[in-house]
C-alpha cells in the first residue's frame, strides 16, 4: 500500500490524463492507472497492419484551446499535420460538393443554397457557441443556493443575449431534428445529406431523430482555433495528442502506469480507500477518479451495493449503445476517388448522398441490423503524415455507421458481411479501393467495448442528448463529477460536456477536486 494522500485515476484516456495534469500542476500526488500498454484509449495510435498505423478517433475538432495552452501541449509535442480540413461530400458521379467554413462549392449548387449555407453557418455557429461556453463549466445544480443560481442565471443570460430572433430560433430548434432544419434551409440533397451526417456521427439517431440538432451543435461547439467544428489531423495520429497530454502530466509530476488494469475500487465503510489491480496489488488513495465510463465505474469496479438503489438504477439506465464502427484500410497506393485529386483526398470525405439515405441507414440499426448501405466519414491521414504508413503507401481511416452494439446475428458472423457492405459502398466512389487494399481492420462497437472497456462501445461513454447533458450527465447527483460515494469522482466523457477529444471533463473534474480540498 502506498501513501493514502495519493490520488488515483483509473484510465489513461485523454480526460484522465488532462485531469492528472491539472492535479499534478496543483501539487497533488497523482497516479494514473492505464489498463493497456499505451495511454489514450480509443485515441491511441496503433499499428493495425505491419507498418500501417491509425487511431480509432481520427480527427481533432474539439480539443479545448485553454487546455492546450494551460498544459503547454505544443511544447509537449502536439503538432498538427493538417489544420482546418474542408469537407467533401462525395457524389457517385464525381460531382462532389466542397463544404468550407463560410461557403460551399460544386455539385450543381444553386446560388440560393450557397447563400443559405452562409446563413446556416451563422446561426449554427452562434448556437454552438452557447454549448461551447458551457464546456469548462461545472454544471450547476438545480438548487436555490447562490452559486448554482448564479451559474444558471449566466446560462440563461447567454441565451437571452442571442437577441430576440435568434433566441426564439434556438429554443425552437434546440430539441428538434436536423432533417426538418435542413429541409427548411436547403434544396440540394447531397449538401443536406453531408450536413446531416454531422448530426448523427457517433449517435444512436438518424437525421429524423429528435435531439439531432443538438448533436450537430455539440460537434461544432469546440473552442479550438479556427472555424466552429473545423477538424485537424494531428501529427502521429490522435496518439500524438495523447502523448502530448501524457507528457504534460508526467512533467507536472503525475505518475503514469501502463498495463495496470484495475479490478475493483476498494471501500472503507462508505468512503473509497484505494484500488486493487488485476494482479492483486492494492494502491491506497483517499481520492479515486474514474476515467472509465460511469456504468463500468459504478456497477463493475465499485459494485452497485456501495451506492443507494436509486443511483444504481439511474447508472444502469444510462443509454450507451454505440453504433459507429471504425474501418482501417492499409493501401498499397493512393486510391482513385472519382473527381478528386490527391489534395482533395486529403480532406474530410463523407458518404451521405442524401438525408433520406442517412435515415435509411439508421433504420437498420434500430432493429439490430447493420446498414445495408452505410454512411461514412473518411480521412486518408497518411497524405499529411508520412509516419502513419510505409513510403508511398497509405492509410484510409473511416467512421462507418450504422453498426449496432447488439447485432441480431452477432458480430462474429456479421463482421465480414458488414466489411463487405462498406467496401461495396466505397467502391462506388473509389472503384479501385479493393485492389489497393492490402489489409483491413474493422472495429465494431463490440470490439471497442472489449478493447477500451467502454460500455456499449460508445465514443461518448453515454449517448449525447439533451436528457443526458449538463446537470443530467451522466446522471443526476453526480453531474458535478463527484459521486455519492465519498472520495469517488468521475472525469470521463460520460460526464459533462461529453465526448470527442476535448479534455474539458477532465479539467472540470480536477477543478472540483481542488475546490473541495
Amino acid at each position: 500500500m502506498t501513501d493514502s494522500n495519493n490520488i488515483v485515476i483509473i484510465g489513461g484516456g485523454h480526460n484522465g490524463l488532462v485531469c492528472a495534469a491539472y492535479l499534478a500542476k496543483a501539487g497533488k500526488s497523482v497516479t494514473v492507472l492505464e489498463a493497456s500498454e499505451e495511454v489514450g484509449g480509443p485515441a491511441a495510435t496503433r499499428e493495425f497492419a505491419p507498418g500501417y498505423k491509425a487511431s480509432c478517433a481520427h480527427l481533432l475538432n474539439l480539443l479545448d484551446d485553454g487546455i492546450s495552452e494551460e498544459l503547454s501541449l505544443s511544447s509537449n509535442g502536439l503538432s498538427l499535420s493538417r489544420e482546418g480540413l474542408n469537407t467533401i461530400a462525395l457524389a457517385e458521379d464525381g460531382n462532389h460538393i466542397t463544404i468550407m467554413p463560410d461557403s460551399v462549392e460544386g455539385g450543381g449548387l444553386t446560388a440560393e443554397d450557397k447563400a443559405d449555407y452562409t446563413e446556416y453557418r451563422r446561426f449554427m455557429t452562434k448556437f454552438a457557441g452557447i454549448i461551447g461556453a458551457m464546456h469548462n463549466l461545472v454544471p450547476p445544480r438545480i438548487t436555490t443556493d447562490r452559486d448554482n443560481l448564479m451559474a444558471l442565471g449566466k446560462l440563461a443570460l447567454k441565451v437571452r443575449m442571442l437577441g430576440r430572433d435568434d433566441m426564439r430560433e434556438l429554443l425552437r430548434m434546440g430539441g428538434i431534428n436536423i432533417y426538418d432544419v435542413l429541409k427548411e434551409n436547403f434544396e440540394n440533397p447531397l449538401l443536406k445529406g453531408a450536413l446531416s451526417l454531422d448530426a448523427v456521427l457517433g449517435a444512436f439517431s438518424g437525421p429524423r431523430s429528435n435531439n439531432s440538432v443538438f448533436t450537430a451543435l455539440h460537434r461544432m461547439s469546440g473552442n479550438n482555433s479556427g472555424a466552429a467544428g473545423a477538424a485537424s489531423i494531428p501529427t502521429g495520429g490522435m496518439g500524438g495528442v495523447m502523448q502530448a497530454i501524457a507528457g504534460a502530466a508526467s512533467r507536472a509530476g503525475a505518475e503514469i502506469r501502463i498495463s495496470s488494469p484495475v479490478r475493483r475500487i476498494l471501500m472503507d465503510g462508505t468512503a473509497v480507500s484505494g484500488v486493487e489491480l488485476e494482479n492483486g496489488e492494492q494502491i491506497a488513495a483517499s481520492i479515486v477518479i474514474s476515467n472509465a465510463d460511469v456504468r463500468t465505474t459504478v456497477l463493475d469496479l465499485l459494485g452497485a451495493r456501495h451506492v443507494e438503489a436509486d443511483f444504481a438504477r439511474r447508472v444502469n439506465n444510462i443509454r450507451s449503445n454505440g453504433n459507429a464502427a471504425k474501418l482501417h484500410l492499409a493501401l498499397d497506393g493512393l486510391p482513385s476517388f472519382k473527381g478528386l485529386d490527391k489534395e482533395q483526398m486529403g480532406e474530410r470525405l463523407v458518404i451521405a448522398p442524401s438525408v433520406e439515405y442517412v435515415e435509411h441507414a439508421f433504420n437498420h440499426c434500430k432493429y439490430g441490423e447493420f446498414s445495408a448501405r452505410p454512411v461514412a466519414e473518411i480521412t486518408i491521414p497518411s497524405i499529411h503524415d508520412g509516419s502513419l504508413a510505409p513510403d508511398g503507401k497509405h492509410v484510409l481511416s473511416a467512421i462507418v455507421q450504422y453498426a449496432p452494439r447488439h447485432l441480431g446475428t452477432g458480430w462474429t458472423e456479421g463482421k465480414a458481411a458488414f466489411t463487405n457492405a462498406i467496401m461495396d459502398v466505397l467502391e462506388t466512389y473509389a472503384p479501385d479501393i479493393r485492389e489497393r487494399t492490402v489489409a483491413t481492420e474493422l472495429l465494431t462497437p463490440e470490439d471497442m467495448e472489449n478493447e477500451f472497456g467502454m460500455t456499449g462501445g460508445h465514443w461518448h461513454h453515454a449517448e449525447l442528448s439533451l436528457d443526458q447533458f449538463l446537470m443530467l450527465r451522466p446522471v443526476p447527483r453526480s453531474a458535478q463529477y463527484k459521486t455519492p460515494v465519498e472520495g469517488l469522482y468521475l472525469c470521463g466523457s460520460g460526464c459533462h460536456p461529453g465526448g470527442g477529444v476535448m479534455g474539458s471533463a477532465g479539467k472540470n473534474a480536477a477543478s472540483v477536486i481542488l475546490a473541495n480540498q
Binding site: 465503510g269 462508505t270 456497477l299 459494485g303 452497485a304 451495493r305 456501495h306 451506492v307 443507494e308 438503489a309 436509486d310 443511483f311 444504481a312 438504477r313 444502469n316 447527483r477 455519492p484 460515494v485
Partner: protein, 402 residues
C-alpha cells in the same frame, strides 16, 4: 384453502380474493359486512368492533393477516441486500428473530414499514403494508439474491391478547410459552409446518401464525376449539385499529404517506419525522436514504410525530392541532380514538418541528356530532412520551397462564 390460482389464464378477472379463512370468517361475520384489504376480502367487524377490541385486550382476538404483503428473500447476498434496503442494521436480527424496520427512497422518505422475519440462516420474510415487489426488484441490481412475493402462498392469523399463549398451548404448541418477544419458531401441525412468531400489531401479548393456505381452515378450527373457554373471538380491522393506536403503532397511508404513492414529495415523512430515528443505523454502511438522512440529522427535521393526551372524551379525529391560544396551527392529528383502556382521548399527531416535546401543551379543534347536530370544542392536549398501552405481560416470558 388456497383461493388464488394464477395458473388459470382467467386469473386477472379477479382483483380481490376471498381469504383462505373465508369459509370460517363467513360463519363468524354476523354483520355480513366486508371490506377490501390489499388483494383480499377482509372483515371490518364480525359482531361489534368495541367488543372485539375488548376480546383483544382482555381475552384473545383473532385477526386474519393473510392480506399483508409477504416476500421471501433468499440467496447468498440476502443480508447485504437487506442492509442496503433497510434503514436498520439487519445483521443484528439473528435467525429465529423478527425486527421492525422502515425503508426509504434516496430522499430519505419512508416508502413503507414492515417486519423482517429471519426465518432460517440467510432466509428472510419481509411483511409490508404496500406492494413492494417493484422496489425490491429494483434494489437487486448488483446482488446475488432472489426475491419472491409469496403473499398468496402463506395464510396468516394474528392471535392477540392475554389468553393467547394459553390457547396456543392448549392447541398443542408445546413450549410456546418459552418464545420471547420478537422470536419465531416452528411446529409440526396437521402434517405441515406452522410458523409462529411472538409479534403483533396490538402492543400486547400476542402471536402471529403462518401456514400454507390449504391448512388455513384446520388451523382456524383447532384454534377456536382450543380457545373456547378462554374467550377467543374473531376480530375485525376496526378493532385492530383501536388496538394499534393505543400501542402507538403507525400505519402506512394513515400516519404517513408512502413515498412511492406521493404526488407531492413534501407530504412524505422521514424516519426521524415519524419518531423512528432508532431504526436508522448510520454506522452499518450505505443504505437507501443514508445521505439525505445524514443531512436531515444535521439540518433538523420538518415534523415530529407525537402522542397526544387530549382533555375530555371526544376523539380528535382529523383535527387540527393549535399552539395554545388557538391561532397558529401546529399540525394535524393522523389517528385518534377514545381509549377504553387508558380512559382518555388519545391521538397520534404530526406537528411542525421543533414543536412536540413531551409535556408541551396544545389545543385540539374537535368537531363532533350528537344526533346530527355538529358542535366544536377546543380541547387542551399535551404531548406524552410513553405509549398508552404497554402492559408488562407484553414482554413477560413465560406469560401468565389462564
Amino acid at each position: 384453502m388456497r383461493t388464488v390460482d394464477f395458473s388459470s389464464s382467467e386469473h386477472y378477472k379477479t382483483a380481490v380474493f376471498p381469504s383462505p379463512f373465508h369459509s370460517r370468517q363467513k360463519e363468524h361475520n354476523q354483520l355480513k359486512e366486508w371490506s377490501r384489504w390489499s388483494d383480499y376480502l377482509s372483515v371490518p367487524a364480525y359482531w361489534c368492533a368495541d367488543m372485539e377490541y375488548f376480546s383483544g385486550r382482555n381475552a384473545c382476538g383473532v385477526f386474519d393477516i393473510t392480506p399483508m404483503v409477504k416476500h421471501l428473500v433468499t440467496g447468498p447476498d440476502a443480508l447485504p441486500y437487506l442492509n442496503r434496503l433497510m434503514t436498520r442494521d439487519v445483521s443484528k436480527i439473528r435467525p429465529g428473530r423478527v425486527g421492525y424496520s422502515v425503508w426509504c427512497n434516496e430522499a430519505g422518505r419512508v416508502i413503507d414499514d414492515g417486519t423482517i422475519f429471519h426465518l432460517k440462516e440467510g432466509v428472510y420474510r419481509i411483511c409490508s403494508q404496500e406492494h413492494q415487489i417493484d422496489w425490491f426488484m429494483t434494489n437487486t441490481l448488483g446482488f446475488d439474491v432472489e426475491i419472491v412475493e409469496d403473499t398468496h402462498d402463506v395464510a396468516g392469523l394474528a392471535v392477540q391478547g392475554p389468553t393467547s399463549c394459553a390457547i396456543l398451548k392448549e392447541m398443542g404448541l408445546e413450549g410456546i410459552e418459552n418464545l420471547t418477544p420478537f422470536g419465531l419458531t416452528y411446529f409440526d401441525f396437521e402434517g405441515t409446518e406452522l410458523m409462529v412468531s411472538r409479534t403483533g400489531f396490538t402492543g400486547d401479548l400476542g402471536y402471529e401464525l403462518f401456514i400454507d393456505p390449504d391448512h388455513a381452515e384446520v388451523l382456524w378450527d383447532r384454534l377456536f376449539a382450543a380457545g373456547e373457554l378462554r374467550g377467543i373471538r374473531a376480530m375485525g380491522s376496526d378493532a385492530l385499529e383501536l388496538l394499534r393506536i393505543e400501542a402507538g403503532f403507525i400505519l402506512a397511508g394513515v400516519d404517513f404517506l408512502p413515498a412511492m404513492e406521493a404526488v407531492r414529495p413534501t407530504h412524505t415523512r422521514s424516519p426521524f419525522e415519524l419518531g423512528l430515528g432508532w431504526l436508522v443505523s448510520f454506522d452499518k454502511g450505505v443504505f437507501n436514504g443514508r445521505q439525505a438522512l445524514l443531512e436531515e440529522k444535521e439540518k433538523g427535521s420538518r415534523f415530529n410525530l407525537v402522542k397526544l393526551d387530549i382533555d375530555g372524551n371526544k376523539p380528535g379525529k382529523d383535527s387540527f392541532v393549535y399552539i395554545k391560544g388557538g391561532k397558529k396551527i401546529a399540525g394535524t392529528i393522523t389517528s385518534a380514538m377514545w381509549s377504553p383502556s387508558a380512559k382518555a382521548s388519545i391521538a397520534l399527531a404530526s406537528l411542525e418541528a421543533p414543536l412536540g416535546k413531551p409535556g408541551e401543551e396544545f389545543e385540539v379543534e374537535i368537531y363532533y356530532q350528537r344526533e346530527l347536530k355538529w358542535s366544536r370544542v377546543m380541547a387542551s392536549a399535551r404531548v406524552v412520551k410513553d405509549v398508552f398501552w404497554d402492559p408488562p405481560r407484553r414482554r413477560q416470558t413465560p406469560p401468565a397462564d389462564f
